[in-house]
Symmetry: C2
Subunit: 130 residues, 2 copies
Amino acid sequence: MYSIQEVSQRTGLSAHTLRYYEKEGLISGVERTPGGFRQYSDEDMEALGLICCLKNTGMPLQEIASFLTLTRRGDQTLEERVNMLRAHRENVLTRMEEMRRYLEKVTWKLEYFTRKLEAYQNDGGDGETR
Amino acid sequence: MYSIQEVSQRTGLSAHTLRYYEKEGLISGVERTPGGFRQYSDEDMEALGLICCLKNTGMPLQEIASFLTLTRRGDQTLEERVNMLRAHRENVLTRMEEMRRYLEKVTWKLEYFTRKLEAYQNDGGDGETR
DNA sequence: TATTGACTTAGAGTAAACTTTAAGGATTAG
DNA sequence: CTAATCCTTAAAGTTTACTCTAAGTCAATA
């Protein structure tokens, strides 16, 4: 079992954010000490791993919350979850491909500017304030 | 010369967004008709192309604005611009690699759930509400 | 000429994902 | 025991990037 601080360090999410995620329904059923402190189980950590994974590939928190709500409803929601993941995966692949194309253009621009800079420097643009 | 509607269609940015970008200093010096309507030149279109490119690779609008402000100051800012682009390119590459790793994990999860779903369906989970 | 529809501005409103604040209760090192 | 630290909730505030509204101006057409 892990305290909220430990979980924060392991996941890179702030304690604030962890509570926020709980409020938003991303995680639920986190155990508490008699004093009311959160105690995260390994299962919770597992779920948080998936949350980060989906978040970092651009899934909105609301959709992540839906996904994890389905997970809690058990195997009868497997098909829906598979569909969600499949759609998400396609989206990510599309975005990555788009990104790759845009990055190519950035690379060309960079090369163009680099050549232009060299020309400018060789041409006496350096420090010559005459 | 293009009207704001034409530019909107060509760039995929709404007319609202185009005016917003102007207000935020991303573009400037857009010509006007006697009546005050915006008339975008090919140069403006060129700049908008770069803006979209940088935006779609995740550069914040503020930074894009800085970049284009430097561009307007001319060749003496070439070095700074090259540095910005280089740094941006590195960031994008890093993010893409991170993305790739996260997507891999999503793919595993998807495969795992798919197998689990098949097992569930073959096991009579289909419509049997008994 | 009248009307439709696109354009103008300033400024308010929205959505997502936090982040901070306020006010106070619990736990632990010394 | 007590100070320091960590925890609690509810709610307000922040940032980014739009998006919309209101009130009015301009242009083309029937």
